[in-house]
Amino acid sequence: MTLVYLIIIPLIAGIVSWVSARKNPVWPRWIALSALFAQMLIIISLWIGHSIELNSAHNGVWIASVDLTWIPQLGIGFRLAMDGLSLLMVALTSILGMAAVICSWTEIKDGVGFFHFNLMACLSGIVGVFLAMDLILFYFFWEVMLVPMYFLIGIWGHENRIYASIKFFIFTQAGGLLMLMAILGLYFIHGSITGAYTFNYFELLETPLSAWSSMLLMLGFFAAFAVKIPVVPFHTWLPDAHTEAPTAGSVILAGLLLKTGAYGLIRFILPLFPSAAHTVAPVAMMLGVIGIIYGALLAFAQTDLKRLVAYSSVSHLGFVLLGVFAFNELALQGAVMQMICHGISTGALFIIVGALQERIGSRDLNRMGGLWASIPRISAVGLVFALASLGLPGLGNFVGEFLVLLGVYSVSPWMTVPAAMGLVLAVIYSLRIVGKAFYGCSDDRSRIQDLWPREALLMAGMILAILWLGLFPQAVLNTVEPALKAIQEKAGSMSYKSGQAAVYTDILSYFQTSQVVTETQRNGQNR
């Protein structure tokens, strides 16, 4: 039942804080914060319990699960389960949730109660997405997180919020509908072949699919996830939504909503449709590389700081897409690492931008400059996270990007080289933030308030987290390893040709190797 609590606690806290706001506008903040803290404690206890268990005996990848009947006539159940991957994602949700509450402490003044209700509802939807093991339930949570976010952007956003929120809604909804169709398609195919009509993830994993139907269904899922991640060219909702959302909204969007798409790739596309995934892998990886470079180029051109950070997300998430479709352990681990570190580093950058906007009333880079002299602490923190975003070794993002590129290299050196160019481009746009906003000369900014103690505490925590991930990533890697191994066993691996040939592997050769891949898969199933 612990898993149910993880979902219920934020939701109840959201309702309570909505009601309590009438008494005192500070209550919702404290209620939300303590609920998230409680959630965090549950996650930590699960994690510790699990790692003890891991040491004593390898008994499966699942840490906890819940299976309640919901609509048995249609084969829909309230099934939740948590493995290392979901654990980390839920932990990230909890951390960024707290960050979101803290960073909107002074920013949000109107409708505090409803704001926190939406925030918490969205978080509980996200947790649900990471835990659901029933496809209808998954789709349900997928929508649950969408609607509150729509309100967050539309009500508490900036100048152009209505346009941004509608754009966000339509893009995500269009992808979501295609996924719903694919879910139903999978349900009927599974039912007609095996006679058991069910949305149970674990049973659907065994569905025998023809190559053609597998491809179609996979594309349906991929549409939803590609919009969320976002994959170029479906990314254009992102800069608008991120820029117009309030700080908390941007943190949740970049830190968590994008991760649900990446999580979906790993959890659903790889194991449900392995052969189709292998077929599209070259295209998907290519899209990843394009995302890395295109996002970075656009990030460089922006003058709105928040938009710059938003486009840098497109670039960073390109690494995740690239890593997932390389089908090997290094790249997959790297992708997960990148998801977590991007959540923290970009979340922190959005908080910095929000703090700056609150203080100087602008997000325009051309109107900033010389901030280091007046607010050295905010500037120093901004520098640290700009460095994280450019992949400085010692900080978490480097581990993610390096592992992805290392893993991808073994299947395709020619993908790695342009993707690695992203490292150079990341320096160019990240240093632009530092050079334009923090360095330079200021006219008269002596009265600006540096970090509040509350914010300083939050930022210190996030810096420690990103350093910990960069220097001691093994705890995270160990937690996620069994889950990824299990998924990889289902998904098969890309064949690796050793020696000279590997250097000259071309994109085209994927199409030749797809036969080898199905063979490895068959071997996997025989086992």
Binding site: K167, V232, P233, H235, T236, P239, L297, L298, F300, A301, Q302, T303, E329, L330, Q333, G370, W372, A373, P376, A380, L387, L392, P393, G394, V399, F402, L403, L405, L406, Y409, S410, P413, T416, V417, A420, M421, L423, V424, V427, I428, L431, R432, G435, F438, Y439, G440, C441, L471, F472, P473, Q474, L477, E481, G499, Q500, A502, V503
Partner: protein
């Protein structure tokens, strides 16, 4: 003793943390104690460890210390671990000792700066990263140090962040070196995928077993690593960032952009010597790039007016000598030149800094002068540094190391006459620009008033470095003079010894004499042109063509202009053009079409019955017509 190895980088990190977290709350005195003290203790500790390493050598002259497992996935398991051998002993000694002297000097140099504690925090972080780079036992950790020093270089070039030019220079340095670093990262991917490890020792063993000399894979791997080395060490074609990097405070130029960081590329190539030996073509490329760089930078140094830019180009040129040495297999000679260069170049920068400080930040040497009478300590130490740079025979350490490189270039099977000749011509250029600098900046009447009286804190490092710039040379003497090989014998436990194909002592003497002549010739020319007859340069080189050549050299052979027009401006223009993301216009079109349809259709909703009736009848007629005709 050796198990305290981890403390050497840990001490400066501690200093950095104290200064970064609590710096602003401490008094100046405490700040300087922390900043200088951390590096000072590291210097003491590394001296002690070096002595213990030499007196009680560990088995195989290697000592490994693993702190923790960094990442472990399958067989990819880089550690946070250190490897101490003769090569890293040399490196850590230079980094900590020269680093300490420069830190001490900075206490006075930066005394009036408002960013005092920030400066020492960055400097400490730099020393720590540099130590990690040199001690790393695997390439991933080396890469961490590698990027760390790049970051500190960025932070310190842009230390005076209020000037837009400084920010530009800092960004340029970081971006250009990152291009090299990325090539190096790809090299790491290749090495790991081919050999299954990044542990440097294991990697070298496996590479030698698995690869044939001259085959393609080691060539690609070596070329990729070379890319990283070129960026960090400011060699062609990635050298353009270093002259601009002089925007930072002078101690920074001394420590990072002369003594230590720019030689990281030399260290990398020496460290990966097995790989480069397996790729003879790449190794020859190292020599040729080194030679080309040392000549081009030598010419550029001749045309500079800013004293720091002269020194910057001379650094590029001297690192070019090291590359030349590495390229012909003169491993120890290159590292020897690194050690001597660290001493005399740090000295030159610090002495120049003392002049700059005294003159109220005047860096144009034609506006200086009179240093000899006004600042005697600075003058004499500067002169020793310049003599060492010009490698005046027998008395300076620069002579011994440069001579060793030139001699081994001559006698190496992959070297030869032409490379040697280029090197000797470079030596002529070196002494020419070194003494041009001495004669214009130090002699003659003071054109700018020299007011600041340098204190002992500035003098002590200068004097110690000046002594070092003389005596360090005596640890390695040529065959015909003394025949003393302490340094190379020591290094041979870590680096392959030099393989000459012709040992000829008579020849060696002749070569030394030629090198000596070229040195004195350079001094003579600069004496005539810049001291005796200051009107000569104008008279001889006043012509139109010489002016053009002069400005070409002054601009560093126009590389900046080329990169600007080929890469930077098109990049900026293209990204600006696409600022609003052309892909979004597709979605905008979709929404435009939908809204137009919506608007168009709502126009028909007029509420007038007549129009509706008309619509219905036209529709009915159309449907009937279709039914009839189809």
């Amino acid at each position: 003793m050796l198990d305290l190895l981890w403390l050497i980088p840990a001490l400066p990190i501690l200093g950095f943390l104290i200064l970064a977290l609590a710096g602003s709350r401490l008094s100046r005195k405490v700040q300087s104690c922390v900043g200088v003290g951390s590096v000072g203790f590291a210097a003491v500790l590394s001296s002690a460890i070096s002595i213990s390493f030499i007196v009680f050598p560990p088995p195989h002259y290697q000592y490994d210390q693993t702190l923790w497992n960094w990442i472990s996935i399958g067989n990819f398991s880089p550690t946070i671990g250190f490897h101490l051998d003769a090569l890293s002993v040399c490196m850590i000694l230079v980094v900590t000792v020269v680093g300490f002297l420069i830190h001490l000097y900075s206490v006075e140099y930066m005394a009036d700066d408002e960013g005092f504690s920030r400066f020492f925090a960055y400097m400490n972080l730099f020393v720590a990263s540099m130590l990690v780079l040199t001690l790393a036992d695997n390439l991933l950790l080396l890469y961490l140090g590698w990027e760390g020093v790049g970051l500190c270089s960025f932070l310190l070039i842009g230390f005076w962040y209020k000037e837009p030019d400084n920010i530009k220079a800092a960004t340029k340095a970081f971006v250009i070196t990152r291009i090299g670093d990325t090539s190096m990262a790809i090299g790491l991917f290749l090495l790991f995928n081919e050999l299954g490890t990044l542990q440097i020792q294991e990697l070298s063993v496996r590479a030698a077993q698995q690869w044939v000399v001259g085959s393609t894979t080691p060539m690609i791997a070596a070329a990729l690593l070379l890319g990283g080395a070129l960026g960090k060490s400011a060699q062609l074609p990635l050298q353009t960032w270093l002259p601009d990097a002089m925007a930072g405070p002078t101690p920074v130029s001394a420590l990072i952009h002369a003594a230590t960081m720019v030689t990281a590329g030399v260290y990398l190539i020496a460290r990966m010597n097995v790989l480069f030996t397996l790729a003879p073509m790449v190794q020859s490329a190292v020599a040729i790039i080194g030679l080309a760089t040392l000549l081009l930078a030598g010419f550029s140094a001749l045309a500079q007016n800013d004293i720091k830019r002269v020194l910057a180009y001379s650094t590029i040129s001297q690192v070019g000598y090291m590359f030349l040495g590495l390229g012909v297999g003169a491993w120890s000679a290159a590292i020897f030149h690194f050690v001597t260069h660290a001493c005399f170049k740090a000295l030159l920068f610090l002495a120049a800094g003392s002049i700059i400080l005294a003159s109220g930040h005047e860096q144009n040497m034609f506006k200086l002068g009179g240093v000899r009478s006004k600042l005697p300590v600075t003058f004499w130490t500067f002169l020793i540094g310049a003599s060492s740079l010009a490698s005046i025979p027998l008395v300076t350490d620069g002579f011994y190391s440069k001579d060793m490189i030139l001699w081994q270039v001559w006698s190496s099977p992959t070297g030869g006459f032409w490379l040697w000749l280029g090197g000797v011509f470079g030596a002529l250029l070196t002494s020419l620009y070194a003494f041009r600098m001495v004669f214009t900046a130090c002699f003659g009447p003071a054109k700018t008033q020299l007011k600041h009286r340098s204190s002992n804190i500035i003098h002590i490092p200068l004097i110690i470095l000046a002594i070092l710039s003389i005596v360090v040379g005596f640890v390695e003497l040529p065959h015909n003079i003394g025949n003393f090989h302490l340094f190379s014998d020591f290094l041979n436990s870590a680096l392959p010894s030099f393989q000459a194909d012709k040992i000829d002592t008579n020849n060696e003497l002749a070569l030394e004499i030629i090198a000596g002549i070229s040195c004195f010739l350079g001094i003579l020319i600069s004496y005539v042109f810049y001291f005796k007859r200051p009107e000569y340069p104008e008279r001889f080189f006043g012509g139109c063509v010489s002016q053009k050549i002069h400005s070409l050299w002054q601009s560093g052979w126009g590389f900046d202009w080329i990169y600007d027009s080929v890469f930077v401006r098109p990049f900026v223009r293209i990204t600006r053009l696409n600022r609003n993301d052309f892909i979004d216009s597709f979605y905008a079109l979709v929404s435009f079409v939908t809204t137009s349809l919506h608007k168009g259709l709502s126009l028909t909703q007029t509420g007038r019955l007549r129009q509706y009736a008309l619509g219905i009848s036209i529709g009915a007629v159309l449907v009937l017509l279709i039914l009839v005709w189809l």
